[in-house]
């Protein structure tokens, strides 16, 4: 009964989304106020019914309804409540429903918070969002309904993949989808501008906070995934350049370029067509990622169960939206050129370099991810492109990017007056180099060229990011959220670079066989294996080992690590024990039983690894703060009266 209700609600949502799309887009095209007015309420209705459908699916999971095919394949009677809910998005069908729910939520937010937008423009934005909703809802109803029944009902479910039975993993897809779907909002704003044929700086001002919010979600989503992989998978890695990871990283890079390009468009009315193109690219990569992960063309541990017919449907959607919007771009963009200029050294040129390098980086990752696929498709052989390639190649655009970042932050618009800040920057660079050398040689007793370069670049950016806020505070000037946010975000970038450099340069990994009482020394710490005992959980059983860590005789931590076998899927998983410190992590993971009480253990020393996620969180924090800048609010009071006069309908 309830699943059928959910299915019905989804159909209703589809119809409402059709209305949202039709009345929004056609209404704006024909200038019919009454039609345009339907878009926002329709969006609200879509949200209500999609939420209802999602609620019905969640209910089926919570009540162990194994007559629903999706529940039977993803859940189990012994699965704890929290993971039963997380299982809703644990596989393909449910995760697409989550995607649709988040899209409906974003559309509702746009409908509710964009009262100051001109009516036609708003209608178009909602119309495009409605169109995207229609496509995804059709997709799910036609090929991947989570409400399909299983007859006869299963006695019990196949259980959620044990790797997903973890809090961070439960939170990672919703956060990531918030980001992915957020790119569709920027896309909608871009297409709305293209449809109307005009774009002024007001457009950039409206688009920026939404794009920033999407970027923040994407940053947090990727960070959650990386952190989870580190502490759950047991091999202590935080990024593998897996196709699915790349599928999320590419939109992130392009969205980063977009938020910077929007700054130029807002301030100086430049790069209009380029910004539109970036907004389309960000969403395209988002859709492309969805395609790659669900179609079965790529081999990845992340990939959902694949089905070529689903792949074809998504590909058709992809081509419709992307080729369609890019064609619209090709037709309209030539009219958007602006004639303003800027000096060769200026904020504009630094941001242009930022964009070019970020897009180049995204292009490299796209190439590396798709090359094996191309070769295989055309029978040119099978190759693998993995971390060795990406790790070396990725530095080519990013090293210049980080270097320019430290300087570009201080360039002013139109013509950079770097003379004023030059001496401070040189001093900072020198200090960064010295600090890098001290860190490398005094801290870790070794340092290759790349290590010194990495530390110097990271520290330089960190210091450079603080220059302006500190100067403003000293001059008792106001510090807007935008400026503070930017400083925090860039500081986070520097911190991230320092963290990555530290881990890549100085990490130590040791696999040893230990009997109870035996110990091994790694990086000055002594790891003593205390022994194992059985361990039991709600839906698993296994073995737990305890390891005592001391340093120069003084106790540091006692860690426990487990090897679990989940009862239903019978897959062994490992829970690592991690001793977290601000400057290093100590990581132990239990391996195989070698017999006679001896076990193999993997011990890792990870210096500065926390800086990686802390840096990323700071980036997200800074971006979020900038999105909340008062000028986006204050404007509403100023433009509301302007929206009323007839002249306002001339603006987009």
């Amino acid at each position: 009964m309830i699943p059928e209700l959910g299915h019905f609600a989804l159909v209703l949502a589809l119809l409402l989304a059709l209305a949202q799309a039709f009345f929004g887009l056609v209404g704006a095209h024909r200038g019919r106020q009454a039609w345009m007015g339907i878009a926002a309420p329709a969006a609200a209705g879509v949200f209500v019914f999609v939420a209802l459908a999602f609620g019905c699916l969640t209910y089926a999971f919570v009540t162990h309804d194994f007559s629903v095919q999706y529940v039977a394949s993803t859940s189990n009677s012994a699965l704890p409540l929290m993971y039963r809910i997380a299982a809703v998005w644990g596989a393909h069908e449910g995760s697409v429903l989550l995607w649709i729910l988040i899209l409906a939520a974003w559309a509702l937010a746009v409908a509710a918070l964009s009262g100051s937008l001109p009516v036609a423009f708003r209608a178009r934005v909602l119309g495009v969002l409605g169109l995207i909703g229609v496509s995804f809802m059709s997709f799910i109803l036609a090929t991947s309904s989570p409400f399909a029944r299983l007859v006869p009902a299963a006695a019990d479910g196949a259980d959620l993949n044990p790797l997903l039975q973890d809090p961070a993993m439960a939170a990672h897809p919703p956060m990531l989808y918030m980001g992915y779907v957020g790119t569709s909002v920027a896309f909608a704003f871009a297409v709305a501008a293209l449809l109307s044929g005009r774009l002024d700086a007001g457009w950039a001002r409206w688009t920026r906070p939404w794009t920033n919010a999407a970027w923040v979600c994407l940053t947090l989503g990727i960070t959650l995934g990386s952190w989870w992989a580190y502490y759950v998978l047991g091999w202590g890695g935080w990024w593998f350049w897996d196709s699915v990871e790349n599928a999320s990283f590419m939109p992130w890079l392009v969205t980063t370029a977009l938020i910077h390009s929007l700054a130029v468009t807002e301030k100086r009315g430049l790069y209009k067509s380029w910004t539109l193109l970036l907004a389309i690219f960000a969403f395209s990569l988002s859709l492309l990622g969805t395609f790659l992960v669900r179609s079965g063309v790529l081999v990845s541990v992340h990939a959902f169960a694949s089905d070529p017919s689903r792949g074809m449907f998504i590909l058709a959607l992809l081509l419709f939206f992307i080729v369609g919007s890019l064609t619209l771009y090709a037709v309209r963009a030539p009219t958007l050129k602006s004639e303003a200029g800027f000096a060769i050294v200026s904020r504009e040129s630094f941001l242009l370099a930022n964009n070019a390098l970020l897009v180049a980086a995204a292009g490299l990752i796209l190439l590396g991810t798709l090359w094996p696929l191309f070769m295989d498709a055309f029978n040119l052989g099978k190759i693998s492109v993995g971390p060795p390639y990406f790790n070396s190649v990725f530095l080519v655009p990013t090293l210049p990017l980080v270097a320019l970042l430290g300087i570009g932050m201080h360039a002013s618009w139109k013509r950079a007056q770097l003379a004023g800040v030059r001496s401070r920057l040189l001093l900072l660079a020198g200090a960064a180099l010295v600090l890098a050398l001290v860190l490398a040689y005094a801290g870790y007793r070794a340092g290759s060229l790349m290590t010194i370069v990495g530390f110097t670049a990271g520290l330089f950016v960190m210091g450079s990011a603080l220059l302006e806020p500190v100067a403003r505070l000293r001059a008792h000037q106001s510090l807007s959220r935008a400026v503070l946010g930017m400083a925090i975000a860039h500081f986070g970038v520097g911190l991230f670079v320092v963290g990555v450099t530290g881990v890549q340069s100085y990490r130590i990994e040791k696999d040893v066989g230990l009997a109870p009482g035996e110990s091994v020394g790694v990086a000055g710490y002594d790891f003593r294996f205390l022994g194992t005992q059985p361990a039991v959980g709600p839906n698993w059983q296994g073995v737990e080992a305890r390891i005592a860590i001391t340093r120069a005789g003084a106790p540091v931590r006692e860690l426990s690590t487990q090897k679990r076998v989940y009862r239903v899927q019978q897959n062994p998983t490992t829970q690592a024990g991690i001793a977290v410190g601000w400057n290093r992590d100590l990581f132990v993971a239990l391996g195989e039983d070698l017999g006679a009480g001896k076990w193999s253990v993997r011990i890792q020393y990870k210096p500065l690894i926390r800086f990686i996620w802390l840096g990323a969180i700071l980036m997200a924090l800074g971006g979020g703060l900038a999105a909340l800048d008062r000028r986006y609010r204050a404007r509403r009071a100023a433009t509301e009266p302007a929206a009323v006069p007839a002249g306002a309908s001339e603006r987009i």
Binding site: G234, S243, V299, L352, W371, D511, A589
Partner: protein, 149 residues
Amino acid sequence: MRRAALGLFAALALVSLGAHAIDSGQAFADPVRQGRYERLIHELRCVQCQNVTIADSNVGLAADLRRQIREMIGAGQSDEQIRRFMTERYGDFVLYDPPLRPRTYFLWAAPALLLALAVGIVGRAAVRRSRKPLGEDPDESLADREKPV
């Protein structure tokens, strides 16, 4: 039917990624050799698994290949010889660092090409823009807020 069979065989042959690799062999006393070993096992793909290195996989094949590499290093073989040993048996697919062949020239040239393209575009645009008049800002009220101190 065959597809289902392959799926079954794959499911049984594959081990969950959650179970990670642990070497129970002795580490090399010589740090150079140990370093070579660690680098090589992170460069080779576990062919039986879903995209993971033989360092991080604990399926039987990965353990066997790690043992093979350890023995070959111990016998004095070079990194190149070890890689060739692997590709002769498993093809280029087993290398995560794609070998430089005519088919991968573009892949390896791409970073330099893209960087050159980026520099070219930025340079050209910057020069062109520098010749135009600076022009008015659409929104001068933002000037004070954004001007760096």
